[in-house]
């Protein structure tokens, strides 16, 4: 039971590659590793899932304090101005978008459906948190840094191919040069 992280097959070009001993040959994961990775994915999904409950709609009240903090302590020049003059006056809309995005990340990772897309969205959300909150008082800057790195790992490795819907989707979206652009993009995200 093996899986490659790439949709394309890597063609061996040297004698060492033919013997499968080249330092640059493609890496395959064993069945056990894939299951371990699936459990990691489930728990990261749980991480995002649990964060939905302290900022539930319709008020998204729990989020407000953190948005104010982001406006004060962001290290990115100009971002504080955007938060204070664009995001905070439209807080309910921002809350709805943030909550929905986090719900999508949680569902994607928990169910292993278009997992790499979920990982990408998780990375972007975590990056925004890093920019806004990493240097706020009482925060450890690595908290959000690790969240970004975790998201990147889930973008790189197709972790939904075991214990996830992606295992089924992968067979439904076969790689082919003839398939449409949308199918190819969909294929990459599983």
């Amino acid at each position: 039971m093996q899986i490659s992280s790439s949709a394309r097959n890597t063609r061996a070009t040297t004698t060492e590659d033919d013997a499968g001993i080249s330092p640059s040959s493609a890496v395959s994961l064993s069945g056990g590793s894939l299951y371990a990775l699936a459990i990691v994915r489930l728990l990261v999904g749980l991480l995002w899932f649990q964060q939905l409950f302290w900022k539930l709609p319709p008020s998204f009240a729990g989020l407000h304090r953190y948005l104010v903090e982001e406006g004060q302590y962001t290290f990115l020049p100009g971002y504080g101005y955007i938060i204070q003059h664009v995001f905070l006056p439209n807080f309910i809309l921002l809350g709805a978008i943030t909550w929905t995005a986090e719900l999508l990340v949680a569902l994607s990772l928990l169910f292993g459906v278009f997992t790499r897309l979920g990982g990408l969205l998780a990375t972007l959300l975590a990056l925004q948190l890093y920019i806004g909150l990493a240097y706020a008082p009482g925060e450890w800057y690595w908290t959000y840094g690790m969240l970004v790195l975790l998201g990147i790992v889930l973008v790189i490795i197709p972790s939904g191919r075991r214990l996830g819907v992606d295992q089924w989707l992968a067979t439904r979206l076969p790689y082919s040069e003839q398939t449409g652009r949308l199918a190819r993009i969909g294929r990459w995200f599983v």
Partner: protein, 142 residues
Amino acid sequence: MVMMKTLRRGLLAGLCAGFFAALLFIVDYGPANSLNTVARWLGLDSSGSGRLVGFLLMLLLGAIFGALFSTATGRRDIALGRSLLLGVLTGAMEWIIVVYVLGDLVNHLRIDFGSWLFTFIPLLVYGLLLGSLSYQWRPRPA
């Protein structure tokens, strides 16, 4: 004999999926305070043993619904997509019977949007894991 094997496979897959679903209720500020909620579904919560009861309940319910799942799929060589779909439906059925009927209607637990989301999604995940594991462990033709 074949049916017994199918049932045993469903029980085992349900037990494993129930264990993973229990994990979703263990990782919290408690730890495992959320397992008290699971015990409350059947009116079995107590301050001393609520978490343990909740954990065992997740395993037991997992095994029972796993057996039901295997009975529904029977001896047929089921495709992955159908196995996942039936698994998710089993998870939804578990939510309706255990959380809604027993928890809400019988034990008068209040189900608002937050508690619906908090209980429904993990049980759907249980169902997905059940479908996935059952497919993985199915007997293959020699």
